[in-house]
């Protein structure tokens, strides 16, 4: 009884911690992205509100909340209201299986530093990241606007082209860790991160998650200069804000995914495990921001062709090679 209560309280604490950290990180990633992109284009980015623009996220939130929450006349009202929440929700839920530190012993219990250590955590992550696209597609469909529909269609096309390659890139990781549990996968990287063991899989995975995050260079669903705002054309105020925040939470989720699956999770010398985890996540986020500042946008048929004719064959070959090498080592 007593241990059950402690478990519940600790789980709630972990939930609150993750919510707080992820949401504030998402808010400040927006600022970091604007400032970094600005510096890459030889300008400063927001630096007016607070020291160095540090209060900018708060002002953005106030602006978004006080704006009119407009619903188009012929929109499918309930789906329209529901879609942005779905995007933000799926992104937040993904964090449940991401371990951010090794288990610690607290109050005589071994406490895993993850909300829920599923034994199929990897599938859970993949499933939620695919569900995230529903927010986009439903929002685009419900808006009843041609640009939104085009954006939604593009995001589905994109899903079809990157999702398979992403799954294929993760199989070598599972093969070498012999488990679908994210904690096990991190444990298996104690000596050598998967980045070194499976460089090809890492490359495919990075390209796939870049496509999954719907950010430049793969922001075809919202390509501003072709289809206005894509799936969020008709959204305004805080509903647009939810899409926006969802995108940045997604960025953190992707950073966490790359970190736990390829960069060795919390493993690292000197610094405490949580610090290593955060550093790695932020570094991956920086790489994506950097890519946004550097890359042009391909057409979405180009992405589809690349996904189906390059990434998937390479992914399959990579799996066969990894399996052969592992078989040779084990026998």
């Amino acid at each position: 009884m007593n241990t059950a209560i402690i478990t519940v309280i600790l789980t709630l604490c972990k939930l609150a911690l993750i919510f707080g950290v992820v949401l504030s990180m998402a808010a400040y990633l927006v600022l970091a992205e604007r400032k970094l992109l600005g510096r890459m284009q030889l300008r400063y980015g927001p630096n007016r509100i607070g020291p160095g623009g540090m209060i900018q996220p708060l002002c953005d939130v106030i602006k978004l909340i006080t704006k009119e929450d407009f619903i188009p006349e012929r929109a499918d009202k309930w789906l329209f209201l529901f879609a942005p929440g779905l995007t933000a929700l799926t992104a937040l839920l993904s964090f449940a299986v991401v371990p951010f530190a090794p288990p610690v012993t607290l109050f005589g219990q071994e406490l895993p530093m993850v909300v829920c250590d599923l034994n199929i955590g990897l599938l859970y992550l993949l499933g939620l990241s695919s569900l995230g696209v529903y927010g986009v597609v439903l929002g685009g469909w419900a808006s009843n606007s041609k640009y939104s529909l085009l954006g939604a269609m593009r995001s589905l096309g994109q899903l079809l082209s990157y999702e398979l390659a992403m799954g294929l890139a993760l199989i070598p990781v599972v093969l070498s860790a012999k488990s679908f549990s994210i904690t096990e996968i991190v444990m298996s990287q104690a000596t050598l991160p998967n980045l070194v063991k499976h460089p090809l899989a890492f490359l495919i995975f990075m390209i796939s998650v870049a496509a999954e995050s719907k950010r430049t260079p793969f922001d075809m669903p919202e390509a501003e200069n072709e289809i206005v705002g894509g799936f969020h054309t008709e959204y305004s105020g805080m509903r647009f804000g939810l899409f926006f925040v969802g995108e940045y939470i997604n960025l953190i989720v992707i950073g966490a995914m790359v970190t736990v699956l390829f960069l060795g999770g919390w493993h690292g010398p000197l610094l405490p495990p949580v610090a290593w985890f955060l550093i790695k996540v932020l570094f991956v986020a920086f790489v994506f921001i950097w890519a946004r500042g550097s890359m042009p946008r391909p057409r979405y048929d180009q992405l589809m062709r690349f996904g189906w004719t390059v990434m998937i064959p390479i992914g399959v070959i990579n799996i066969l090679l990894t399996a052969a090498v592992l078989l040779a080592i084990n026998s």
Binding site: L36, G38, R39, M40, L42, Y44, W290, S294, M295
Partner: protein, 176 residues
């Protein structure tokens, strides 16, 4: 070879943006740092005086005719010596597009553009400049020019009283 070109083309922009990341931005931080616009910059419009201190404007309406947004209005008046001037002169800066056509049209160099660009205001009515707001104590860009030295004011007699001259027409009663 195409593959090599593609890989190079993908990686090069990353290197370039990383280089820019550590350079000093070119932005001028406006309220703290103000750049001096060039002397012929077109911003706030002024009415200048000639070297003797008299108003240059002869209220010929050419500026308001040239104005593409019709932001200049005035009423002409005449001194006892026949020298014309503007009874009132008004520029609505909330409409003005600072194209400078009025300054080009002005035959007496009265209306001129200045580089003072900081005239924005919270109340739109404060942007309607009257003659006393526009008139400055100076010659502006040309310190020598005096229109009446070229054109002259003096006429021998009152209007319509000279030889070979009809009396002025009264437009209000120009009935057939």
């Amino acid at each position: 070879m195409t593959l090599w070109r593609d890989i190079k083309g993908t990686l090069q922009p990353f290197w370039i943006t990383l280089g820019y990341l550590f350079q000093k931005p070119v932005t001028i931080q406006y309220p703290e740092v103000k750049r001096t616009p060039p002397p012929r910059y077109r911003a706030r419009i002024v009415l200048t005086r000639d070297p003797d201190g008299g108003e240059r404007c002869v209220a010929c309406h050419l500026c308001s005719g040239a104005c593409p947004v019709d932001c200049i209005s005035m009423q002409a008046a005449e001194d006892a010596d026949g020298r014309r001037y503007a009874a009132w002169f008004r520029i609505n800066f909330s409409r003005c597009i600072f194209c400078g056509l009025c300054a080009e049209a002005c035959p007496t160099l009265a209306i001129q553009m200045t580089p003072d660009y900081e005239i924005c205001n919270r109340d739109i009515l404060n942007l309607v400049y009257e003659k006393e707001d526009l008139l400055i104590d100076g010659c502006g860009k040309d310190t020598q020019y005096n229109f009446y030295e070229h054109a002259g004011i003096g006429v021998a007699n009152e209007r319509g009283r000279n030889q070979d001259e009809y009396g002025p027409v009264d437009p209000k009663s120009l009935l057939p």
